[in-house]
């Protein structure tokens, strides 16, 4: 487990969290490189399908980050995130996915330090949890 480097997928909204990540970069803040960023136009665009697909294809953790409630560029988008997330977590728990593996954060364009803290802390959490074990389904020639 010592050698385990978590793979984390981060869906960052274009207007706040991605800009926050950018700020963390230009401010030369140090944080682990375990988070792979996918820029989306709004955290509300993050269909639970994206999260499930990430987990089913080798991610150990998923971060969804968007504007603070009330700050959405599209007025309402991040409220959809806020509403979907708890339901998605309830469902993921039934699939045996620990709550800590999928995280939702509000990070504004000014919060570069918060972004770096979140990535640092989240990477550490996933490192402690260990790799995500997928339900493996064997191929056509070897069911059973």
């Amino acid at each position: 487990m010592v050698d385990f480097e978590p793979k984390i997928i981060g869906f960052l909204c274009n207007w706040c969290s991605y800009a926050g990540a950018d700020l963390a970069g230009v401010s030369r803040l140090q944080y682990p490189a375990n988070l792979r960023v996918v820029r989306v136009m709004c955290s509300g665009r993050v269909d639970p399908t994206f999260v499930f697909k990430a987990l089913s294809q080798g991610a150990d953790g998923v971060l969804i980050a968007g504007c603070h409630p009330g700050d959405c560029h599209y007025t309402e988008g991040n409220y959809n995130t806020l509403k979907r997330y708890p339901l998605m977590m309830q469902m993921l728990e039934q699939f045996g996915v620990e709550r800590e593996r999928v995280r939702m954060e509000w990070i504004s364009a000014a919060e570069g330090t918060i972004y770096a803290d979140v990535v640092r802390e989240f990477t550490e959490t996933i490192r402690q949890l260990g790799p995500y074990k997928r339900r493996l389904v064997k191929g056509r020639d070897q069911v059973g």
Partner: protein, 319 residues
């Protein structure tokens, strides 16, 4: 014209798909007029050995219902694939696991322990669990092996067509048989007997603004027969489910359970439904969301009622 050879098989299924075939009523005589039935365990006494002797490709059409749960299901699926020119995954279980695949939220050991040791009605002081073989004085007895996972048919063998439904409606069954008889077949891999639009598209109920304050289970509410069931707070899977069933459940005041499967282009029906349900909750704060969520008791079981085998996460894992 020579008669078609027709096989119907049930693997891990309830038998409802076979009953749906009988529900074509007097048309069953028309089917008998154009086809020799070579295997139909629910209705006729054919033996596996007789089918095994047939030449590869000698069955023209095989309607295979049920998921692959054990080694017998798998063995017959492979045999029928070899013998059949057209193999149809018939019904939700064969297509995506159906109800049996809800067991993928547990593993083999959980299931055997629960069923053979823990259930209050079970008396099993020696803790005997099913074995694949057992020597007896009159010879060895064999049972199929119980798999750890419930597979859809196409996770085990190649499938030519998909006919969704739990069960497929008799009208659609008749259309499939006619298509094979006339040789008028769609491209291989197509879903036959369903629409490419959602159930909501053919649903006649009045639809207004979707803002939901509370979800109900169907025994908790007397619904308005004219209004959209989802708007009334029932978890109706219509928005993410293919139409083509004739809205039979909706007509009986029951919400859609999603048996016709995901719309074209959708990988994961349950995730898509989660997405839409999240969006229509009438809440602004996490506390309000929590309160509304009290009405959704079993999201995985409800949203993946028929599609667990082919879902992205496939089933639960112990971490």
């Amino acid at each position: 014209m020579a008669k078609l050879n027709l096989a119907l098989y049930w693997a891990a299924a309830c038998g409802g798909c076979d009953v749906a075939v009988l529900d074509v009523n007097e048309k069953i005589l028309d089917i008998a007029a154009v086809a020799n039935i070579v295997l139909w365990p629910v209705a006729l006494d054919h033996k596996y050995a007789d089918v095994a002797k047939m030449a590869p490709g000698s069955i023209d059409l095989c309607l295979f219902n049920g998921a692959i749960r054990n080694s017998e299901n798998e063995q017959i699926a492979r045999m029928l694939r070899e013998k059949s020119q057209v193999l149809v995954a018939f019904g939700s279980c064969a297509i995506s696991g159906g109800i049996p695949a809800l067991a993928n939220l547990k593993d083999r050991d959980d299931i055997l322990r629960r069923v053979y040791l823990e259930t209050p009605s079970t008396v099993n002081p020696d803790g005997v669990l099913p074995q694949t073989g057992c020597p007896t004085p009159v010879g060895d007895l064999h049972l199929p092996e119980f798999y750890d996972f419930v597979y859809s048919l196409d996770q085990v063998v190649e499938v030519d067509y998909y006919v969704p439904g739990c069960p497929p409606t008799p009208q659609r069954i008749w259309e499939v048989v006619q298509a094979v008889v006339s040789g008028n077949l769609p491209p291989r891999g197509a879903t036959v007997g369903a629409l490419d639009k959602s159930l909501c598209d053919e649903c006649q109920r009045v639809k207004r603004d979707k803002k939901i304050k509370r979800f109900y289970r169907s025994h908790e509410i007397i619904t308005d027969p004219e209004l959209c069931l989802l708007e009334q707070g029932l978890l109706c899977m219509g928005p993410v489910t293919r139409g083509g069933c004739g809205t039979q459940c909706i007509n009986a005041n029951m919400p859609c359970r999603g048996c016709y499967g995901p719309l074209p282009g959708v990988t994961d029906q349950g995730a898509k439904y989660l997405s839409s349900i999240g969006a229509i909750m009438d809440a602004r704060t996490p506390e309000e969301v929590d309160e509304i969520m009290q009405g959704i008791v079993d999201p995985a079981g409800t949203f993946y009622r028929f599609g667990m085998s082919t879902s992205l996460l496939k089933g639960a894992v112990k971490q």
